[in-house]
C-alpha cells in the first residue's frame, strides 16, 4: 500500500466512487417516479452523441464529446416524450423505440466513419477503461500535498468531482419541489409547482451525471448505479432523506469493493490478469441489492 497504490489504484478508485455517487443521487428520484429505465435509455444514446461530436470536430477531445453526449441525452428525452404523445404509446414502449433507434444510428455512424486512427469504439463506450486512469506523478502519499504532482492527476477526477458537486447541489437546492412532485404530483401542481419542468430538470440532471460518468467509466456502471444502490436503499427505509444517504453508502461500497475485487481478486486466486473493474462494480451492486432484498427491514410496504 505505498507508492504503487497511489499511482495506479487511488485515482481510478476515487473516480469510480465519485461516478457511482453522482449516478446514485438522481437515481433515487428516477426509481420513485417509475423512471428507473431512463438511466438505461440515456446511457445508450450517449454513443451517437459522441460519434456525432467526433464527426463534427474531427478529433477525440473531451468537451465537444461531453456536449454531444449531453445533447443526445436531452434529444432522447424529448423524442421519447414526442413519440409517447404523437403515438399515444406507453412510456416504456416509447423509450424502447427511441433508444434502440439512436443506439443503432450511433453504431452505424461509427462503422461508416474512419475512426481506426482514434480510440473510439463501442466496447470503450460500454465498459470504459477505469484501470487506465493512472497518475504517473503520484510517487507516494506525499504527492497528494505536492501541487506540481497534483496537476498530473487524470482530468477525469476533477471533472467527476465537479459533476458530483453540481448534481448534489441541484438536488439539495430543489429538494422540496423534487420530493413533492415525486410523491404527490397532483398536490405539487396545486401548489403551483411547474411539475413538467421539474421532471425534465431531473432527466437533464441524470443526463449530466450519466455523461460525465460515462466518459470516465463507461455506461455499465452508469446504468447499474442509477438503479441498484437506490433500489437497495429503498428497502432499508421509508424516509426519502435516509434513502438517499443509504444509496450513497451502497454506491461507494460497490465502487470500492468492486474495484478492489477486480484488481486484486484474481491475483489472490493465483491468476496474473485483473478483470474489468466496471463490470465488477456492477456485479457487486447487484449482490448488495440481493442482500437487501433478503434482509433489509423495509422489503415490503
Amino acid at each position: 500500500m505505498g507508492a504503487e497504490f497511489v499511482a495506479l489504484s487511488l485515482p481510478p478508485l476515487l473516480i469510480g466512487t465519485l461516478a457511482a455517487l453522482a449516478c446514485a443521487l438522481p437515481g433515487n428520484f428516477l426509481l420513485l417516479r417509475r423512471q428507473a429505465l431512463m438511466g438505461d435509455a440515456i446511457s445508450h444514446v450517449v454513443l451517437p452523441g459522441i460519434v456525432v461530436a467526433f464527426l463534427l470536430t474531427g478529433q477525440v477531445s473531451t468537451w465537444p464529446m461531453l456536449l454531444g453526449a449531453a445533447g443526445a441525452a436531452i434529444l432522447a428525452a424529448l423524442l421519447i416524450e414526442a413519440v409517447r404523445r404523437l403515438g399515444r404509446l406507453n412510456a416504456g414502449t416509447a423509450m424502447g423505440v427511441v433508444f434502440t433507434a439512436m443506439f443503432a444510428g450511433g453504431v452505424l455512424l461509427l462503422e461508416q466513419s474512419d475512426t481506426s486512427s482514434v480510440h473510439l469504439d463501442v466496447q470503450h463506450a460500454l465498459y470504459g477503461n477505469l484501470e487506465s486512469l493512472i497518475w504517473l506523478d503520484g510517487l507516494g502519499w506525499s504527492s497528494l500535498l505536492d501541487p506540481r504532482a497534483l496537476q498530473g492527476l487524470p482530468p477525469e477526477l476533477a471533472r467527476m468531482a465537479l459533476c458530483l458537486l453540481l448534481v448534489a447541489g441541484a438536488i439539495w437546492l430543489f429538494w422540496r419541489p423534487l420530493k413533492l412532485s415525486t410523491f404527490d404530483e397532483e398536490f405539487a401542481r396545486s401548489q403551483g409547482l411547474p411539475v413538467a419542468l421539474i421532471g425534465f430538470g431531473l432527466v437533464v440532471l441524470a443526463a449530466i451525471a450519466a455523461v460525465a460518468a460515462f466518459d470516465a467509466v463507461g455506461s455499465i456502471i452508469v446504468i447499474a448505479m442509477f438503479i441498484c444502490p437506490p433500489a437497495a436503499a429503498r428497502l432499508m427505509t421509508n424516509s426519502l432523506q435516509a434513502q438517499v444517504w443509504w444509496s450513497l453508502g451502497f454506491a461507494a461500497l460497490a465502487a470500492v469493493a468492486g474495484y478492489v475485487l477486480a484488481g486484486y481478486g484474481p491475483i489472490w486466486l493465483g491468476f496474473t490478469q485483473s478483470v474489468s473493474a466496471a463490470g465488477m462494480i456492477a456485479t457487486v451492486s447487484g449482490l448488495i441489492l440481493t442482500l437487501a432484498a433478503l434482509f433489509a427491514p423495509h422489503r415490503t410496504s
Partner: protein, 301 residues
C-alpha cells in the same frame, strides 16, 4: 448492388442469411405483439442483456476444455440459461420486495451484463487466437456466418413461431381478461411462463444476427408499428410478424451489399423507418390523421 441483395443474388450464403433473418424477424415480431399486449415490452431488455454471462461462460468452459468455443448450439444453451436466471431474479425481486418491475429489470440487465463483461475480460486474457468470435454477439454480424448457423437460426425462428401459434389463445385471453382466463384454466402465472419462454427463445436465436444490445428492438418496434394500422389482435400479431420479417430481411440484405453496414443496427434502422412512417401517416391512428380530425372537429364547433 442493393437490388441484387434484395433479390437474393449475392450468392448462396448471403441469400440464406437473409432468409434466416426473415424467419427470425417474423417470429420476433409475433412474440413482440403479445409482449406489447401484455405491456411488458421492456422485460425483453433484461432478457437480452442477461444472456451475456451464460454466453461468455460457455465459451470459456468450452475453450478451456480444449474445444471450439464458438459452437452455436452450446452458446445458445448457455445464454438461455443465464437469461432464465436473470428473469427469475427479476421475478424474485418484484414478488419479494416492493420494488417496481422497471427497477428490477434495470437492475438485472445492468448487473448481469456487468458480470458478463467481467467474464469477457477473462476471455481476453486467453492466448491470442482463442478469444475471437464473441464480439459479434454484442452487435450482431452475418459476415462469415456458417451455413449450419443460418439453418439453425431459421429453424429456431420457425420453432418459436410454432410456439406462438400454439399459445395464441391463452396469451390473448390473459392480456385482456385475466379473470375470465383463470376460469378457463389459464392462470396469469402459466401465461407469463409461456410468454417469457417465447421471449427467451427468440432472444437466444436472434443474438447472432442482431446482437444482444439491439435484439430488444426486434421485439418492441414491429408491434408498436403494427398497432397504428389495426385494432384487431390477430391482425396485430400477423402484421407485427410481417413487419419484423421485412425489417430483418431488408436489413440483412442491405448489410450484405456493402462493407461497414453492421447487420443488427441496419435491421433496427429499417424497422425504425417503418415505425416513423406509420407514426406519421397511418390512417386514423397516425399523427397526421389525428391532427386533421382535430382541426375538422374544431372547425365544426
Amino acid at each position: 448492388m442493393i437490388w441484387q441483395a434484395l433479390m437474393l443474388q449475392l450468392g448462396y450464403n448471403a441469400s440464406l442469411v437473409a432468409l434466416g433473418a426473415a424467419a427470425l424477424g417474423l417470429a420476433a415480431g409475433a412474440v413482440g405483439a403479445f409482449l406489447f399486449l401484455h405491456k411488458r415490452a421492456l422485460v425483453s431488455d433484461a432478457v437480452s442483456h442477461a444472456t451475456l454471462p451464460g454466453l461468455v461462460g460457455v465459451f470459456l468452459i468450452l475453450t478451456l476444455l480444449g474445444g471450439d468455443g464458438r459452437d452455436v448450439l452450446a452458446l445458445m444453451a448457455g445464454s438461455a440459461l443465464s437469461a432464465w436466471l436473470g428473469l427469475r431474479w427479476v421475478r424474485w425481486l418484484t414478488t419479494r420486495t416492493r420494488l417496481p418491475e422497471d427497477a428490477a429489470i434495470g437492475a438485472a440487465l445492468s448487473v448481469l451484463f456487468g458480470f458478463g463483461i467481467v467474464l469477457m475480460t477473462v476471455v481476453q486474457a486467453l492466448p491470442a487466437g482463442r478469444q475471437a468470435g464473441l464480439e459479434s454477439y454484442l452487435l450482431g454480424s452475418t459476415a462469415g456466418m456458417l451455413f449450419s448457423e443460418a439453418v439453425i437460426i431459421a429453424f429456431g425462428g420457425l420453432a418459436v413461431l410454432a410456439g406462438v401459434f400454439l399459445f395464441r389463445r391463452p396469451l390473448t385471453l390473459t392480456a385482456f381478461d385475466p379473470v375470465f382466463a383463470a376460469t378457463q384454466g389459464v392462470s396469469q402465472r402459466k401465461s407469463d411462463a409461456m410468454l417469457m419462454g417465447l421471449v427467451l427463445a427468440i432472444t437466444v436465436v436472434g443474438l447472432k444476427i442482431v446482437g444482444l444490445i439491439l435484439i430488444v428492438a426486434l421485439l418492441v418496434i414491429p408491434p408498436t408499428t403494427a398497432r397504428f394500422w389495426t385494432d384487431s389482435v390477430s391482425r396485430l400479431v400477423v402484421l407485427s410478424g410481417g413487419l419484423g420479417a421485412v425489417a430483418a430481411y431488408v436489413g440483412a440484405a442491405l448489410s450484405a451489399s456493402a462493407p461497414n453496414l453492421p447487420t443488427g443496427p441496419i435491421i433496427v434502422l429499417v424497422g425504425v423507418a417503418l415505425f416513423t412512417l406509420s407514426l406519421v401517416a397511418a390512417p386514423r391512428r397516425g399523427a397526421l390523421a389525428r391532427a386533421i380530425r382535430h382541426r375538422r372537429a374544431a372547425r365544426g364547433l
